[in-house]
């Protein structure tokens, strides 16, 4: 248990002795140890620095969360005085060299610096990738040690909670969040303050504050990054929410696929309790609030609010009809608010800096920033936080560094299985909730997958439908059977059996599923088809009418041919063909028997003369 004065002393101490510009010759080495960093091999790098620096009082080695540039992992930052140096794609050997030359010798090892567009950058802060971002939700990720509460406190951590408890009424808190214009970052964008105000006015013996950390959208990892890089921000915000609506218990529903996040959350909860910032009599007042962790077990539908609450109750995570809304009757039949991780990550900053600070950023109806997980065919895969209203072009071309291998941008997919594809013609759209809806996609949780000319949009729609078929909980018929029928139609089209009437059937069925499904999963499941039909109808038509896949993805529609001019008759293709579909004499042009060919493309990979083409 710590008093506020003691916490202030910790803050001053960490700022002076850990964060502040240290004397020249004193070093802090920070290794990014989020899941992506660890997967790329950051642990041996961390160990190498630890070992090298053991017994050196002038070099402190620490861990931080994700800095956001996935493809450069493992990333190490060396801080001397106020100067940051970012080393990328590190390994243990490189770490030893950096220790020798930079930390002991004072010379930056330029070989391992980040090169962006041919320019060597001394630090991440020098990159276009970083400069165009505005970090609020991610403000501590990659900066603080997520397993050390003192470092969070030093970055104004728990100051918002102190302010709420000592200076504000519950109503004040709700009003600030309402005035800030913060909207839910998990999907539909419902105003957070409104949600809180509904629950705040309920009279009930028990209320709950829940956090959706069941980040199930394929290709989205914003929440994981916050959980792994800044877990206290979530605890603080949930406690503030508890105060605002009059709840004493919170639950974080986190997916079990995020073991590092779960571990760091548990550590954070323990530390916060030790400091009297969570649990009974928070900061010495009579306000009590506790947080429990519930692990998901791999069901996408549990991202839907009522299903998530049913799952916390220990049951099959099936959604239930609304109303009653969770703010009235939620978890264990009590008034409940549910927000996602990124939404909560904004709360403390809004309390500290004021509603107008937050609402000065963004567009008319979408305030603040949004974190996107950039992935797919893009040079800078990673996590970026930009003000609402930033154009897709800026995100893809400037921050994302464009498309690799000189390929052309075809579409960006947002909103995961509930969202849609944004084609090149909308490249200059300002990204916010309403603009994305208007062009047939949605914000969703923030996955942004870039596709190039090699991706077939019918195949992509099929991929998402395969996902929803698998994840439909089965409770309501339109979703359970309807999504399967949609999938079968796509399967038919991509295997060359499509008929012109299939497109009409897809559209009719999609409309039916949207209107009649019980929860958001079913209501949005047809979106990937509808949006690709809207912008890439020609691809559907090519599959159906010409029996061709223009992007050469759908295997059943490919025809392999050998150019007799280029074929030298080396027999390599014939020898490697698993279907014995290729014939021809030595030194004579070979021929593929299309009836036997299984379109495996082994011949094409084996041909040294580029004589085989697919169409």
């Amino acid at each position: 248990m710590k008093t506020w004065a003691e916490l202030q002393a910790i803050k001053a101490d960490v700022n002076a002795n850990v964060f502040a510009a240290s004397a020249p010759g004193e070093y802090r080495v920070l290794v990014g140890l989020a899941t992506c960093g660890i997967a790329a091999g950051a642990m041996p790098v961390y160990d190498a620095f630890k070992e090298a620096a053991a017994g050196n009082p002038k070099c402190k080695v620490g861990q931080v969360g994700c800095i956001g540039m996935c493809q450069y992992e493992p990333i190490v930052e060396v801080i001397e005085g106020g100067k940051r140096t970012t080393y990328v794609k590190m390994d243990a050997e490189k770490a030893a060299r950096v220790y020798q030359e930079h930390i002991l010798g004072g010379q930056v090892v330029t070989d391992y610096l980040l090169v962006e567009n041919g320019i060597t950058c001394n630090s991440l802060e020098d990159t276009t990738f970083y400069k165009l971002q505005k970090r609020i939700a991610l403000r501590n990720c990659g900066i603080i040690d997520p397993e050390n509460i003192d470092e969070y406190i030093a970055r104004d951590g728990y100051a918002a909670l102190y302010k709420v408890i000592t200076e504000m009424s519950s109503e004040d808190v709700v009003n600030v969040i309402l005035d800030s214009g913060l909207r839910g970052r998990g999907g539909a964008g419902f105003p957070t303050g409104k949600k809180w105000s509904f629950a705040a006015v309920q009279q009930a013996p028990q209320k709950f504050v829940c956090c959706n950390a069941d980040e199930g959208d394929p290709g989205a990892f914003m929440d994981r990054s916050v959980l792994e890089g800044d877990p206290h921000a979530l605890l603080e915000a949930m406690t503030i929410a508890g105060k605002a609506i009059g709840a004493t218990q919170g639950y974080i529903y986190v997916r079990a696929e995020y073991p590092v996040a779960v571990k760091r959350l548990n550590i954070a909860i323990k530390q916060a309790k030790e400091y009297g910032l969570l649990g009974d009599n928070i900061l010495g007042t009579d306000f009590c609030f506790d947080i429990g962790i519930r692990l998901g077990a791999g069901a996408f539908v549990c991202g839907e609010e009522t299903a998530l609450m049913t799952s916390i109750e220990g049951k099959r995570g099936e959604p239930r009809p609304r109303p009653p809304f969770p703010a009235v009757k939620g978890l264990f039949q009590s008034p409940t608010i549910l927000n996602n991780v990124e939404t909560y990550a904004n709360v403390a900053q809004i309390i500290l800096n004021g509603a107008s600070w937050f609402s000065s950023m963004g567009t008319e109806k979408s305030k603040g920033t949004k974190v996107f997980a950039l992935g797919g065919k893009i040079n800078n895969t990673g996590l970026v936080e930009v003000p609402m209203g930033t154009t897709l072009r800026t995100v893809v071309e400037q921050i994302g560094g464009g498309i690799p291998n000189g390929k052309k941008f075809k579409a960006a997919q947002t909103g995961g299985p509930s969202g849609g594809c944004i084609p090149a013609e909308h490249f200059d759209v300002e990204i916010d909730y309403d603009n994305l809806i208007a062009i047939g996609s949605m914000m969703g949780s923030g996955g942004l997958i870039v596709m190039d000319e090699d991706n077939c949009m019918v195949d992509i729609a099929k991929f998402f439908l395969d996902f929803t078929v698998d994840e439909s909980c089965g409770k309501c018929t339109p979703c359970r059977i309807g999504t399967r029928r949609l999938y079968e139609l796509l399967e038919k089209i991509t295997s060359g059996e499509g008929e012109p009437s299939d497109i009409d059937e897809l559209e009719a069925l999609a409309a039916h599923i949207k209107d009649n499904s019980l929860c958001g999963l079913g209501q949005t499941a047809p979106n990937p088809i509808l949006s690709t039909l809207r912008y890439f109808r020609d691809e559907y038509e090519a599959h159906i009418n010409d029996k061709k896949c223009p992007s050469h993805v759908c295997r059943d529609l490919l025809t392999f041919t050998i150019d007799p001019e280029k074929c030298v008759g080396c027999t390599k293709c014939a020898r490697n063909c698993p279907a014995n579909a290729i014939s021809g004499a030595v030194k004579e042009p070979h021929v593929i028997d299309h009836d036997k060919c299984v379109q495996c493309s082994v011949c094409m990979q084996n041909c040294a003369f580029g004589a085989i083409t697919k169409d």
Binding site: P218, G219, A220, E257, R294, A297, G298, R316
Partner: protein, 178 residues
């Protein structure tokens, strides 16, 4: 997702049961304790055999049907044992657009099993998993959740599998020597 109950005979030990019972005793009064208990049981036994599900139901005084209902609803509960080397291939969007389907198909071809199945010798099982959040390394596969192989090509899969077969051979030889 279809789930098959394993036909492999249950061979739980009294120690395992005692461990599970201790956990149940500690948590049984908490609201919503069923899933955490099942998660713990899976940690202890590696999967959820029918016998264990019935045991949990009896201890909690609820119908076994309720436990089975939860076990089949969530993809992370396993009704059959896993291979010694559990291969999971990420089929998240980022991995998919970079060719993870081909990687998965290749592994299935080599091991001659389908996702969700285990090879007869109990060595390998394959699963197609949801996004593991390592999109920067796409396409990604993992072995036993800890060995991560990123930026994979289908052509590289065979040598990775052979590596584990090699491990196994060495381990056998070592055992024979000892």
């Amino acid at each position: 997702m279809k789930k098959k109950m394993s036909s492999i005979p249950f061979n739980g030990t009294p120690e395992q049961e005692a461990k599970l019972d201790a956990y149940i005793a500690e948590h049984r009064t908490e609201e919503g304790c069923l899933m955490p208990i099942m998660q713990e049981a899976q940690l202890i036994y590696g999967y959820l055999p029918k016998e264990v599900q019935i045991h949990i139901a009896e201890k909690l005084g609820i119908p076994a049907e309720e436990v089975f209902g939860v076990a089949t609803f969530y993809s992370m509960f396993n009704l059959s044992p896993k291979g010694k080397y559990q291969i999971s291939v990420c089929l998240g969007t980022a991995c998919y657009v970079k060719g993870s389907r081909e990687v998965l198909d290749k592994i299935c071809d080599i091991l001659e099993i389908q996702p969700g199945e285990c090879t007869d010798d109990g060595l390998f099982s394959i699963e197609a998993c949801r996004c593991v959040g390592a999109c920067g390394l796409a396409p990604v596969m993992m072995v036993n959740g800890s060995d991560v192989y990123g930026r994979l090509k289908a052509s590289e899969v065979e040598s990775i599998i052979n590596k584990y077969k090699e491990f196994e051979k060495e381990e056998k030889e070592y055992e024979n020597m000892g």
